[in-house]
């Protein structure tokens, strides 16, 4: 006589299924309302002569003392921005890109994912700056216990850059300098945007790493936001997943949407990957049939401008992208490409 399954088994599975559905509904909540703000909302809630009250990425309000003397910055792209906003540091994490010249000899406190907290506390910092992700959030109780102020921020795209320049320069007592930087960068980018022809809008797919993984960047990602600001349409725009700048996307859907341009952000060496990848795309019938591949509009993006945060070099990144999207307006890509790569090598950020 076969035994019946445990009576609670079915309700438990049903509950697990329902929980999964809720989770999916939650993470796929509509995020189409992510318009780019011409003037991004400020992170600064209030300030006095000595303090700044700012809004954290999760909506809380925290107060910081201005003019920190011993700052530790645990992400090199934030370090670049911090120095640009008039700050100095006593320690940083490992990395070569985006390290300002003055900060190159600073003590290294481990990798950004795994900073050495003992070494950091030995430096007696009065402010620790990092991004608002799990590894750094886990550090907060320890920092609080040691009386060290901290600033966890979100730095994903250009909008964040503008808000952070303002916040960092205010903390350093250089509000005017911050405003000048923001105005200068914004003016250059507005100039590119003003030159964009009204129609047709190029339809763009942004792939991360390699076409075999089909991990695609959304509107909120760094490149996604720039494409949108430059009048392009991300073919994966408007779909799913809040708080997620990349998503595994269906190759079938990509074939149906048939983008005009494919942009590829890669971890690898761009020059080393480029030729092989273009050859593979042409050899794979699924990809070769796409309009972008047939017309030779598949572009590898320089890492320093698109994978990492270009910070002060955002105008260059916008210019590069504008050239890809509108070669008829901004000239041919190879000339700009070679000059940009040369500049990248010279500044090595």
């Amino acid at each position: 006589m076969p035994r019946r399954p445990l009576p609670w088994l079915t309700p438990v599975f049903a509950a697990a299924f329902a929980a999964t559905v809720c989770l999916v509904c939650d993470v796929t909540a509509d995020t189409r309302n992510n318009e780019i703000h011409p003037n991004p909302p400020s992170l600064i809630v209030a300030q006095t002569t000595d303090t700044v009250t700012y809004r954290t990425p999760d909506g809380r309000r925290l107060q910081l003392s201005k003019h920190p003397r011993r700052t530790v910055v645990l992400l090199t792209s934030l370090l670049d921005l911090w120095y640009q906003a008039g700050g100095t540091a006593v320690g940083r994490c490992a990395g070569d890109l985006n390290v300002p010249f003055e900060a190159r000899e600073l003590p290294i406190l481990g990798t950004f994912a795994n900073p050495n907290i003992e070494k950091m506390i030995q430096l007696e910092p009065d402010l620790v700056i990092a991004t608002d992700v799990g590894a750094f959030r886990a550090m907060v109780p320890l920092l609080e216990a040691n009386g060290i102020a901290y600033l966890l921020v979100r730095y994903v795209n250009y909008t964040d850059y503008l808000a952070l320049v303002e916040l960092f320069s205010t903390i350093n007592g250089n509000t005017t300098q911050g405003r000048r930087i923001v105005a200068g960068v914004s003016a250059q980018i507005d100039d590119f945007i003003a030159q964009i022809p009204p129609l047709p809008q190029p339809r763009v797919l942004i792939v991360f790493t390699s076409p075999n993984l089909i991990s695609c960047e959304l509107a909120e990602s760094q490149t996604g936001e720039m494409v949108r600001m430059l009048g392009g349409v991300n073919i994966i725009d408007g779909s799913f997943f809040k708080s997620n700048s990349r998503v595994n996307f269906s190759l079938e859907r990509i074939a149906l949407l048939d983008p005009d341009i494919i942009l590829i952000n890669t971890m690898g060496d761009v020059d080393a990957c480029k030729e092989r990848l273009l050859h593979e795309l042409a050899a794979n019938s699924a990809w070769a049939a796409l309009r972008a591949v047939r017309r030779g509009r598949v572009h590898y993006l320089p890492k320093s401008l698109f994978l990492y945060k270009p910070s002060a070099h955002y105008p260059r990144a916008f210019r590069y992208l504008a050239t890809i999207l509108y070669p008829e307006v901004f000239g041919s890509l190879p000339a700009i490409n070679s000059s940009l790569e040369a500049a990248d090598n010279a500044t090595a950020f």
Binding site: R3, N212, N248, M267, G268, D269, N284
Partner: protein, 334 residues
């Protein structure tokens, strides 16, 4: 061994036919569902008429090869698991236990993290890593012959050792972890005809081996001494089956990433349905593995369309409760 004519055998053959139909249904479902939704007649036309354009392209270049890869990965992994469970006489034996997953995993992570320019080498290097780790486990476990328990313990130790390297690389290169995740979870996104060509020889070898080796595996299950007394070369057979299992799993893992669930659970699920006789269990595993993976991959494609869920996650989410359900049912054939 029972003769093929008795009632129980007829029952098992009926179950095998049922599994074959299930497999065919999963294939049909996988080919007909996806981002491109067409009614069946239009689907048929689009599949075989190149003048249909993008629809033909999608069905012929994307969906059909992916379905075939899913089926073959299912066949390879489940046969590999079934062979290993029999050879080791251990219900927890699976491809990851003899180092296949950790070997392929480390090789894959090294390529994706340290040499991202050489991403096109992922499949052959993962294959080599899987076989290399299996060979290492085998050599470490060998001492005047091979005892299953030593092989399992050596497998666990080697897997832990290689796993530490994988984790270490991911910790030291956190900005590159994203590209590794897909491989570690296992998925079939963007698999095409090239992967079909890589896999089909292994699936064919596996299926042939499965049909031919059922009787030998049944003997091996009786214990080494009994098998020897019945004239079987135990060590040689065991080595042969382990090599076959490693080849099957390495081929599957190098194409689909580290799909953990299939090799362990599919043999158990099939055993609960069809019984212990390997003459039926092995072809049953192949059919069940193919059907399950094709069905789960279909779900992975359509559940959150156009977003894709890695099939490894779907397999574990649905397969584990299904397995527990079967376990609780305690099928009367057992």
């Amino acid at each position: 061994m029972p003769p093929l004519s008795n009632r129980r055998t007829r029952h098992r053959l009926t179950i095998l036919s049922g599994l074959a139909m299930l497999c065919a249904a999963a294939f049909a479902l996988s080919v007909s569902l996806g981002a491109l939704r067409l009614p069946l007649p239009a689907l048929w036309t689009a599949m075989f008429d190149p003048s249909v354009g993008v629809h033909h392209q999608i069905l012929w270049s994307i969906r059909l090869p992916r379905t075939l890869v899913a089926g073959m990965v299912g066949i390879c992994l489940s046969l590999s698991g079934c062979l290993l469970q029999a050879v080791m006489r251990n219900p927890l034996a699976a491809p990851n236990l003899i180092g296949v997953s950790s070997g392929a995993g480390l090789a894959g992570v090294v390529i994706l993290i340290l040499f991202p320019n050489a991403y096109y080498l992922l499949t052959p290097v993962a294959f080599a890593g899987a076989l290399g780790a299996t060979l290492l486990v085998y050599l470490l476990a060998w001492q005047h012959g091979l005892r299953p328990i030593r092989l399992i313990l050596a497998g666990v130790a080697v897997s832990s050792f290689l796993g530490a390297w994988i984790t270490g690389l991911m910790i030291f290169y956190p900005d590159r972890v994203h590209s590794v995740l897909g491989f570690m979870v296992g998925g079939l996104a963007a698999r095409g005809w090239i992967h079909v060509h890589i896999l089909w020889p292994y699936a064919a070898i596996g299926l042939t081996g499965a049909l031919l080796s059922g009787r030998r595996l049944n003997l091996l299950m009786l214990g080494d001494d009994t098998a020897r007394s019945l004239g079987m070369a135990v060590e040689r057979s065991r080595l042969l089956f382990i090599v076959l299992a490693a080849l099957l799993a390495a081929a599957a893992v190098s194409v689909a990433g580290l799909l953990g669930f299939v090799g362990l659970m599919v043999p158990h699920i099939t055993r609960l349905i069809i019984g212990e006789d390997h003459r039926f269990l092995l072809p049953g595993c192949a059919l069940m593995g193919a059907a399950l993976l094709m069905a789960c991959d279909t779900l992975a494609r359509v559940a959150l369309d156009p977003v894709e869920v890695p099939v490894g996650i779907i397999m574990a989410l649905l397969g584990a409760p299904f397995f527990l359900y079967l376990l609780r049912m305690n099928m009367p054939q057992r």
